[in-house]
């Protein structure tokens, strides 16, 4: 489970690559700011597939008609209802296929794709949050270490933080301060010490983002849009993460607040962190991100620098070029295929 070309043993080989000019490297091209701290990516996802096991309705239907046909011929051999219940056929539905994605230190990678195309599942996979019926395959490295589900779970809230979309992700019945501080870890004395440390860190973050101490005593529904945005950011920053996964942080905010939310993420990235910005809004993504991963039908079809969106000739995948054409400053051309296959609304 060691990334072949990025192993710390041969960092020179990788660093000696001319990132600006080499067209492809690890399935992606680089932006000017993409840095390889310690000779590896902050996050690398390779060949990730997520599938769900579910009962196959069509197969059950087929089986039933088949059984009905059999029953007419040999009524004695019809299986019991219990047996049919136990033997209900299942199938796998793959939602994410063969996905590759990398996040470098100091950059924002925008994962841009239609709503409902599985982007949130990608966030869940990186956080190691799996539904019980999910089958997740692939390789994930975080900060140079190969990760499995348990390792990813251990990084949650520490190395990797989630910044959710809205205050709906906060417990409606718990005061904001306690929620930002999160659950203290450890036992007895260690737990109390951790709680104190968290309260201290929370005060520090509130001060940094201009949140009054009184906000800590409010309930989530009492927050204004601007306060909510900063509170969610403080939640993400509590554990001093290296990587923030921001899941659609801008919908519901007006333009001014959205721009400021992204500016805060930019500041985090400029401080050496990495951001995976999941969004459906390519215009907003192009203003703030360093690189764009074009997400479509459950996979990343192209991972490229924002600069490539200056000219469609620099974009490799036809869907990316369609996106380029769909931008307002271009010709608004929405081709039939885009309407049919890529854009549900």
């Amino acid at each position: 489970m060691v990334e072949p070309r990025e192993a710390p043993a041969v960092p020179e080989a990788h660093e000696s690559l001319d990132h600006q000019r080499s067209a492809m490297h690890h399935h992606h091209s680089h932006a000017a700011d993409s840095r390889h701290g310690c000779g590896h990516h902050l996050l690398t996802v390779e060949d990730l597939s997520v599938a769900f096991r579910m009962y196959d309705e069509t197969a059950a239907e087929a089986a039933r008609t088949e059984k009905a046909g059999e029953a007419e011929e040999a009524p004695g051999r019809r299986p019991s209802a219990w047996r049919r219940y136990l033997g209900a056929p299942q199938r796998e539905v793959e939602v994410i296929h063969q996905l590759n994605l990398s996040v470098h230190e100091g950059e924002i990678v925008a994962v841009v794709g239609a709503s409902g195309s599985g982007k949130t599942l990608l966030a869940d996979a990186v956080l190691g949050l799996f539904e019980p019926n999910a089958l997740v395959r692939g390789r994930i490295w975080f900060d140079g270490e190969p990760m499995d589900a348990a390792a990813l779970a251990a990084e949650r809230g520490r190395g990797i933080a989630l910044m959710p979309q809205s205050v709906a992700s906060l417990d409606p019945l718990m005061r904001v301060g306690r929620q930002v501080e999160g659950a203290p870890r450890g036992r007895r004395a260690a737990r109390r010490a951790d709680a104190r440390r968290r309260a201290e860190r929370r005060r520090e973050l509130f001060a940094r983002y201009g949140l009054d101490e009184g906000v800590a005593r409010l309930f989530p529904h009492e927050l204004s849009g601007g306060m909510a945005r900063r509170v969610l950011l403080c939640c993400a920053l509590m554990g001093n993460p290296k990587l923030i996964v921001a899941d659609e942080p801008t919908p519901g905010l007006d333009l001014d607040l959205a721009v400021r939310a992204l500016a805060d993420l930019r500041a985090f990235a400029d401080g050496g962190g990495g951001v995976m910005l999941i969004t459906h809004d390519i215009e907003l993504a192009l203003t703030v991100a360093d690189r764009v991963a074009v997400f479509r039908d459950g996979t990343v079809v192209e991972e490229t620098a924002v600069a490539s969106f200056a000219d469609p000739a620099l974009l490799a995948h036809p869907f990316s070029r369609q996106l380029w054409h769909a931008l307002p400053e271009h010709d608004f051309a929405v081709t039939d295929t885009a309407v049919e296959r890529g854009v549900p609304c």
């Binding site: 956080l127 906060l170 417990d171 801008t250 607040l257 854009v343």
Partner: protein, 369 residues
């Protein structure tokens, strides 16, 4: 607030009026002859025609229903609930002596079924699809489908008759002077009826809590809590319980009616001298004053339960309270120093709803979504 209290009192008065009218109407329609029921077949046959007529006149059996009702209601307004035919004592006294027994029984059942149901529901939700969950669901479905009196009879058979752990009935031991009855005796007699009521009452709360807990586990805030490193159980304790207790408590308050109804059957099965048994006696004996009195008391009890649920919700859930001044004050203070262009802030409700992105409105058709 004054308006709320006044409206609640008004509702309460209307409810009691309706309950009293319906009780009176039903009793006067019932074919039970109060003379026959209360004097006894043999004694009635031995009485002369005049004596019977005199007794009927004395009890007012021939007075039309509405006149009796008005007389009774007038007395009630003066604090007189009438006299019980069956117990030959003031209704208030009969109810007071019975209610003490019943209320203890019902309170025990209410608390035990509530806590047990809540715990089972949470445990089932945390182990969804596993053995515990199946066991809890099966238990609840069976109990929800079985009549209370039947469960009572079953428990009586197993634990009193076969195993002999509990007495067969009554609230105190037979043949013991009232002064010698200990608290332990009373508890021992109350145990089996209380267990019956609790066991049957669990189903509702457990199934409801289970469904609600599954919602909570799938909610955005538990997903976020888990994304911050809390595991499922931890998130359940930290965020789930506070969101589950309120609905469960509301349901349990509304459940008082069920428990009261159950207690009528259980008291009958266990010969437990409570309100429920008195109600059955009053109904069979055409004792309209006692029946109406018990109906009023139980209506008041159920009403109080529902009112408590409403009030608790208002007091405990911060979302039900009016927006506090602090919120507005801090909103003004909370603007960062650089924020001269603090935009019209979207309310949290607005941001929770899927709104169109803030970028030019026409962009909807162009950007891939």
């Amino acid at each position: 607030m004054v308006k709320y209290i006044a409206s609640q009192i008004g509702r309460f008065a209307l409810l009691l009026l309706a309950v009293a009218v319906v009780t009176f109407a039903l009793v006067s329609l019932s074919p039970v002859d109060p003379l026959q029921a209360n004097v006894g077949q043999a004694a009635l046959l031995g009485m002369s025609e005049e004596k019977r007529a005199a007794l009927a006149a004395w009890w007012g059996a021939d007075t039309p229903m509405h006149e009796r009702f008005i007389a009774w209601a007038g007395g009630l307004l003066q604090g007189d609930m009438g006299t019980s035919l069956r117990y030959n004592a003031p209704v208030a006294d009969v109810i007071a002596s019975r209610a003490a027994n019943s209320l203890v029984l019902m309170a025990a059942a209410w608390v035990v079924s509530g806590m047990l149901g809540f715990a089972l529901g949470v445990a089932a939700a945390l182990n969804e699809g596993r053995l515990i969950d199946r066991f809890v669901k099966g238990y609840c479905f069976i109990l929800a489908a079985s009549p209370t009196f039947w469960v009572g009879l079953l428990l009586l058979m197993v634990f009193s008759v076969w195993l002999g752990w509990f007495p067969l009935g009554f609230s105190v031991p037979v043949g013991v002077a009232a002064a010698d009855v200990t608290f332990a005796d009373a508890l021992h007699h109350m145990a089996l009826p209380a267990i019956t009521l609790s066991v049957v009452g669990v189903a509702n709360v457990a199934l409801h809590t289970r469904a609600k807990a599954l919602d909570v586990l799938a909610s955005d805030y538990v997903r976020f809590a888990r994304a911050r490193g809390e595991h499922r159980g931890q998130a359940m304790v930290r965020h789930g319980l506070r969101n589950l207790v309120l609905p469960a408590l509301t349901l349990q308050c509304a459940q008082i009616a069920e428990i009261f109804g159950g207690s009528v059957l259980v008291e009958e099965v266990f010969s437990y001298p409570g309100l429920g048994q008195a109600a059955v006696t009053a109904g069979l004996g055409g004792d309209v004053a006692l029946l109406a009195g018990i109906a009023l008391v139980s209506a008041a009890l159920v009403f109080a339960g529902n009112l408590a649920a409403n009030v608790i919700y208002g007091l405990v859930d911060p979302r039900m309270r009016p927006v506090r001044k602090l919120a507005r004050a801090t909103a003004a203070v909370g603007v960062p120093s650089a924020g001269a262009t603090f935009g019209p802030s979207a309310s949290p409700e607005a941001s929770a709803v899927e709104t169109t992105p803030p970028i030019p409105p026409a962009s909807d058709e162009r950007t891939p979504r």
